[in-house]
Symmetry: C2
Subunit: 476 residues, 2 copies
Amino acid sequence: MLSSSSRLQLMAVVSVIILMLSLLYFTNLCNCPGELFSTTPKLRSSLPRNLSLPGQCTCPAGSQLLKNYIPEDEYEDLVQRRAKEFQQYKTRTASVLSRLLFALPNSPLQYPIQGYVVRPLTSTLIPGLGLHAEKRSSYKVTLSVSKGILTTHTPPEEAMVKGSGENKLIIESSSLLTLNDLLAKVSYTSSEYHINTGDLATFQFENDEAVFPIAIKQPQIPVLYDMGTDINSQVTIATKTFLRYKQLRVLVDSIRQFYSNINIIIADDSLEPEKITGENIQHYIMPPAQGWFAGRNLAVSQVTTKYFLWVDDDFLFTEKTKIEKLAEVMEAVPELDVVGASVNGNRFPFALVYEEGEENEGGCLSRKFRKFQPLPGYPQCTVANGVVNFFLARTDAAQRVGFDPKLQRQAHSEFFMDGLGTLLVATCGDVVIGHQPKTADNTVPEYRKFRYPGRSDTEFKLKLHFFKNHLKCIKY
Amino acid sequence: MLSSSSRLQLMAVVSVIILMLSLLYFTNLCNCPGELFSTTPKLRSSLPRNLSLPGQCTCPAGSQLLKNYIPEDEYEDLVQRRAKEFQQYKTRTASVLSRLLFALPNSPLQYPIQGYVVRPLTSTLIPGLGLHAEKRSSYKVTLSVSKGILTTHTPPEEAMVKGSGENKLIIESSSLLTLNDLLAKVSYTSSEYHINTGDLATFQFENDEAVFPIAIKQPQIPVLYDMGTDINSQVTIATKTFLRYKQLRVLVDSIRQFYSNINIIIADDSLEPEKITGENIQHYIMPPAQGWFAGRNLAVSQVTTKYFLWVDDDFLFTEKTKIEKLAEVMEAVPELDVVGASVNGNRFPFALVYEEGEENEGGCLSRKFRKFQPLPGYPQCTVANGVVNFFLARTDAAQRVGFDPKLQRQAHSEFFMDGLGTLLVATCGDVVIGHQPKTADNTVPEYRKFRYPGRSDTEFKLKLHFFKNHLKCIKY
C-alpha cells in the first residue's frame, strides 16, 4: 500500500507523463519547426531545371562538311540568316509543355500531371485537385496560373475564397472537407485564343508547392478519305515525266493491263510537251525543265484518294505489282505513312541517323543501309526511315512533308530527310515492279544533260542542306 | 530527500516513461498498421480514369443536317466506312500521352511528370527519381514499363538489383542513400523504333505507387527557308485562273507596276489554254476545268519561298498593296501561319465553332462572323479562324493543310475548316488590294456555268463534309 507522500509523488509523475505525451502528440500534429521527433524528411535533392541543350555532334568519317560549299563572301550573312530562322523554328515548336517538371515527395498536394487539356477561352474543371494535410485549425491553399483565370464556387460560411476570376486563387477554410470540395470545383479559362499552347499552374500549401501543366488546344476537325468500294477509289498512281514519252506510254500501257480504270496523274515538264490521251489520266504541263521534285509535289497535290502509288516514268507493271497488298498493310497499321516495295529486287531501305548538334554549328546526319523491326503480322515488311522510289503513301502525310520544289535535278533521300520523325516508313518485299531497260536508244540526248547534271548540282544541294536542314555535315 | 524505496519507484516510473516514449517514436517511424497516432492520412479520393468522351453536340438553329444529303441507298455503307476511317484517325492521333494521370498526395516517391522525352532505341537517364521514405531497416522499390527496358548500375554490397535489362526493375537496399544513388542512374531504352509514341512507367514503394509518362520521339530535322535579302526571295504570288485571261493579264500588269521581279505562279485549267509570257512567271496547264481547289493546291505546291501571297485572278494591285507589311507581321509573330488583308475593304474574318460530338453521329460546326484578340504590337491585326481570299501564308503550313482537290467549283471556308487547330490565322486592315469590276463584258459565258454551278454543287459539298469532316451538321 502506498503512503500519501508516495501517492502524491506518483500523481506528479503520472501528470508529467501525461503532459509529455500530450506535448508529443501536438508536436507531431502541428508540424512545428524543430520538433523533437522529425518523422517525414522533406529532402529536395537538386533537380534538373531543363533538359540539357544538345552539345556539338560528331561528323562520322567520310562526311561532307557543308560550310565548305558556301562561298566565303556569302558565308557570314548566310549563317546569320540561318540562325534567325532557326530561332523562329524553335519558337514555333517549343512551349511550356516541353519543360521538365517533377512531382516532389511527401507533399499533401494532389493534382493532375498529364492529360488536362482545355479549349481556348473555355472554362474547364481541373480534375483531381486535393489537399491531404495533417489536422490543423485552418487550411489555406493558393493556385496561380499565367495565361488564364481560375474560378471556383461561392464558399460556404466556414471558408473564404479570394481571387476567383483572376490568375491567383486563394482558398481558406477551417474544414479540410470544405476546402477539398471547393478545390474539386476549380475551373481554368485561358485568356487568349490560341490553337496549341500551354500554361503552368502552381499549387501551394505552406511549405509545399507543385507545378503542373495545362495543355491549351483548339480541337481539330477530322479530315478523312472515303475508301469507297474498290482499289480505284483508294489509290491514285502518280508519276513525273521529262523527255521520256516513249517510256511513259509503255508504263501507262502496262498499268492498264492490270488496272484498267485506276486514276493516273502525270506531271510533265518536258521541253516540248506532247498530248497524253486516255480515260482516267490527268496530265499536267509544267514550265519546261521546272524540275523533278517540283513535279512530284505537283502530282501529289492533285490526288483525291487516300493513298497514291509513286512510280517513275520508266517502270513497268507486272503480275507481281499488286497494289492491293500494299494497301492492305497500310490499312492494317494505321500509323504507317509510306510503304515501299521492290523495283526488280531493289528495295533500298535506309535509316537516317540524326543529331541536332550545337545551336550555331548545326546537326549531323548520316544515311545508313539498315532497317528496324518487322511490322506485326507482316514479317515480309520492315520499318525503315527511307525506301526506294516505288511506294504507296498516305496522301495527307506525304503532302504534310512535301517534295521540295527547289530540288530540280537529282534527289531522292531528301523527301525522307525532310520527313524524318514525321513519316512512319516501312518496306515490303512481296510487291515488285519492273524497270524498263536504260538503253542508248531509249534516251533522248538532252535527257542525260538534265538527269546527270554533275558537280554543280551536288554542290547546290549541299549548300541547300546547310541552310534548310540546319546541318553541319552529311554522310551518304 | 527521497527514501530508497521512493527512489526505486521513481526509477521504475521514469523507465516506464522512457519505454513509452520510445514506443511512440518507433511507432511513428515504422508506420505500423493501427498505430496510435495516425498522422498522415493517405486518402485517395476517387480520381477520374479518363477524360470523359464528348457527348452529342447540339446543332444551332439554321444548321444543315448533313445526313439529309446522303441518298438512302448509300447511307448505311457510307456511315460504316466513315466509322472505320474515324477509328483509324483516332488510332493515329491518340497515345498513352493523352491519358489522365495524377500525382497522389503524401507519397515518398519523387519522379518526372513532364518533359522526359527519349529517342527510340536509345538509353536515356530518367531524371529526378527518388525515394524519400521514413527510416526503415530495408527499402525496396519497383519500376516497370511496357514498351522498353530499364537498366541501372551494378549495386554495391549493401544493395540488390533485379531485372536490369528487362521491363521490371527491383532495387533493394538497407541504405536509403545507396538506393537513391541507384535510382539516379536508372535509364530507359525503348524496344521498338517508332517516331512518335509514349510509354507509362509505374514506380512503386510499399503501398505507394506513381505512374509517369515517357515520350518517345524521333527528333525531326528542321526545314527552314532562306529569306534572302529582299521581298522577291521571301514571297511568291500565287493564283489560279479559268476562262479569265483578260483579268489575269490586268492583274499581272498591276503586280509588275509595284513588284517588277517578284515570282508569280499561275495554275490554269482553262478549257483552251493560252500562253502567258514574262520573266519570273511560272504557268501551269491543268486538265480543263479540273477545279478551283485543285488549282490552288497545285500553285502552292510550286512555291519555293517561305511565304506566298494568295490573290484571285481578278484582283488589282494598288499602292496600298504592300506585301512587306504583311511579311513584317508574320516575321514578328512566328507562330502565325496566315495573315489575311483587305479586298477593297472586305476582310471577311470569321470564327469556326466546332464540337466533336458523339462518335457515331459526328460533329457540329458553325461559322460565325467574329474575331479574337489583337496581335501584340499590331493593333490593326486580329486573330481569327478564317479570312478573305487575299492573304500571306507560310508555305509549309498551308501545304500541311492543303486545298482539297475534290472541291472543283465553289469553295472558300473549307481550307480554314480543314486547317482549324492547325493554322494560326489573323487579319490585318492596313493592306488593301483592288478588285476588277465584275461586268458582263468581262466574263465569258461559259465562266458563269462553272463559277455558279447551282444546287448540285452545294449538295455535293454537304455530302463531302458528312464523311470527310465527320460532321453531323454545318451552319454558315
